[in-house]
């Protein structure tokens, strides 16, 4: 029996003009904001994120008493502006998640195509690798690798890329096997097209819907993967910062400065939430098998 996960169809009411449900529109808005931050963080930030101002340490964020307009989200133990740090942290987390998702997607999709195309022993080998990757506690292995390999950005990105590739490979292989025997693929093959041409120009666009859905499932997981490792002090480490690293740092000041942990935590939460909402909506729209 296959395992299905049926997202909730959006309610008919509560829609903005254009037919998009309000919740989805909000999620889109938040993700758009995150992408703007990802690209323009350096331009928006009022201070350099590592700028230390020992005269203004631990000021609270704005609505609270003792807040200062110059630091709308307050400052941390070294007087660094939390808003600027949040921008740069969000940029790092988003970039890493995007990069990790893309590496995983390209690797997985390529291997999935390869497995479906070649079949036989190669198919077996790739699918065994898929099973193996799925059976490993990858987060924990990543933790050990990062701790022993030290503070290397390249290794961190590679580990993030290797996270989740097996899902793409499995989905792609299944889809390609199905698509290959369909009329359009047979027709272009009959016209004498080379396999690579058929796969890239004809099969890939046709199976892109489910792959996109897989991407929206994978992206929030990758964000959580990065932020968790950084939270444990093993992913992004000072002087660089990411949302998880900020949260891990802020955790030590829960008693007197709860916002240092809560603000970056809330940004992580809203990012994964928005992405999940978008993913569900896309899935309900793109996957006809879920309709009934």
């Amino acid at each position: 029996m296959s395992v299905i996960d049926r997202p909730l169809a959006a309610r008919r009411r509560w829609r903005i003009p254009g037919g998009v449900p309000l919740v989805v529109a909000l999620a889109m808005g938040f993700m758009a904001l995150m992408f703007v931050v990802m690209i323009f963080a350096q331009l928006i930030q009022p201070y350099a994120f590592e700028h230390i101002d020992l005269m203004n340490r631990m000021t609270p964020p704005l609505p609270l008493e003792g807040a200062d307009w110059r630091h709308p989200l307050g400052t941390d133990k070294l007087g660094r502006d939390l808003f600027s740090r949040l921008l740069i942290g969000a940029q790092t987390s988003m970039l890493l998640a995007l990069l990790g998702t893309c590496i995983g997607a390209v690797l997985g999709i390529a291997l999935g195509f390869f497995a479906a195309h070649r079949g036989g022993l190669l198919d077996e080998a790739i699918m065994t690798l898929v099973d193996f990757q799925a059976a490993m506690p990858w987060f924990i292995i990543a933790l050990a690798i990062l701790a022993f390999m030290g503070n290397s950005m390249l290794i961190f990105i590679l580990i993030m890329g290797l996270y989740g590739w097996e899902a793409y490979a499995r989905v792609t292989r299944g889809l390609v096997l199905g698509a290959r025997e369909q009329g359009y693929a047979l027709a272009v093959r009959g016209l004498g097209a080379k396999p690579r041409w058929i796969y890239l120009r004809h099969v890939l666009p046709n199976i892109s819907g489910p792959l996109l859905v897989q991407l929206t499932i994978n992206f929030p997981n990758t964000i959580l993967f990065e932020t968790s490792l950084s939270f444990l002090g093993l992913g992004i480490r000072p002087p660089m910062t990411s949302l998880g690293q900020m949260l891990g740092e802020g955790r030590d000041y829960l008693i007197n400065a709860w916002w240092l942990a809560v603000i970056p935590g809330a940004v992580i939460f809203f990012t994964t939430l928005s992405m999940s909402v978008l993913g569900d909506w896309l899935r309900a729209r793109l996957d006809p098998s879920l309709e009934n």
């Binding site: 059976a135 987060f139 924990i140 444990l232 935590g265």
Partner: protein, 310 residues
């Protein structure tokens, strides 16, 4: 019987792959004595420790003797305090098992009934509320939920202890932190699966036989709907172990996760490897258990597996 053999062979292969992968990656990451010993130590002492920990032999010999040791139940000694690595890990297992077990219980006790209700009252306000909460639940980063709970229940209300593991009170927040995300996922899968099952012809048959709603749901629908949920539970064990490490760190829960973060920080190779093996073993056995439960829930699996081999 062949089905069981193939499953166990696969399990052993997976274990071996994890052990091998971890062994080589960790060995290739540099000489542990560089980190463990002071910089200004003389070469003779360094060599002494390298010999003691078996780091002087060629990599391949180290690997072979490591595997040989494993076969005899020898997991090596901790580089830190010369204790038996397996002993160190074993002492922590009950704590993590308690935390994980409670979290799974929470996930099932919360997720399954909510999922069933959502499916029965599909598209009602109840369904929307449950599914809305589920999206919140599995989008919530574990460490953030833990910190929020500490802020509210330990620092504000002062009801629950924020760290440690002395009493049952200590268990509440870590188990909730670890359990809610999975409860959300299980609620979703239970709902999907129930919706599928409820539209099956045998449900109509049950109804026409005159079976009441409780009997129909409890006896006819739920066992069938639980098959995919059990599968998911098995697939999520690895993820759960990862989250357990984070949760244990947040709440200073003295389980395997804490041991791992400490061992990793001090580069205690033997302990890290031992933990990896124990965790891989946990995952592999969880999958075997899932396969068995699967066969028990769905007799077609057993029959099907037998038929294919003939």
């Amino acid at each position: 019987m062949r089905w069981v053999t193939i499953k166990s062979l696969r399990a052993v292969l997976t274990m071996w792959l994890v052990v091998t992968f971890v062994f080589f990656v960790l060995r290739l990451s540099g000489d542990p004595t560089d980190v463990l010993l002071p910089d200004d130590i003389d070469q003779a002492t360094r060599d002494f420790y390298r010999t003691l920990w078996g780091l002087d032999a060629p990599l391949w010999d180290q690997y072979v003797s490591y595997l040989r040791g494993l076969a005899h139940g020898d997991f090596g000694i901790s580089f830190r305090n010369n204790q038996d690595a397996f002993q160190l890990v074993r002492d922590r297992v009950p704590k993590t098992a308690l935390l994980g077990g409670t979290a799974i219980a929470i996930a099932l006790l919360l997720g399954v009934p909510l999922g069933v209700l959502a499916a029965l009252y599909r598209d009602s306000w109840l369904d929307r509320t449950v599914m809305g909460l589920a999206v919140f639940g599995f989008s919530m980063p574990n460490f953030f939920l833990g910190i929020l709970l500490i802020l509210i229940f330990s620092l504000q209300l002062r009801w629950l202890p924020s760290s440690g593991s002395g009493t049952w009170w200590h268990l509440i927040m870590p188990a909730l932190t670890l359990g809610t995300g999975f409860a959300a996922q299980i609620a979703r899968y239970t709902r999907s699966s129930m919706i599928d099952v409820l539209s099956k012809p045998y449900m109509r048959t049950a109804r026409s036989k005159g079976a009441g709603p409780a009997r129909r749901v409890g006896l006819h629908a739920l066992p069938n709907a639980s098959v995919p949920v059990v599968t998911i539970l098995g697939l999520k064990v690895g993820e759960m172990l990862g989250w357990a490490v984070v949760t244990e760190t947040v709440f200073a829960w003295p389980g395997i996760g804490r041991l791992l973060t400490n061992a990793v920080a001090t580069r205690d190779l033997a302990v890290v490897q031992c933990i990896m093996i124990v965790l891989a073993f946990t995952m592999v056995s969880a999958n075997v258990i899932v396969d068995l439960v699967y066969g028990w829930l769905d007799p077609r699996v057993r029959v099907g597996a037998g038929a294919r081999q003939r």
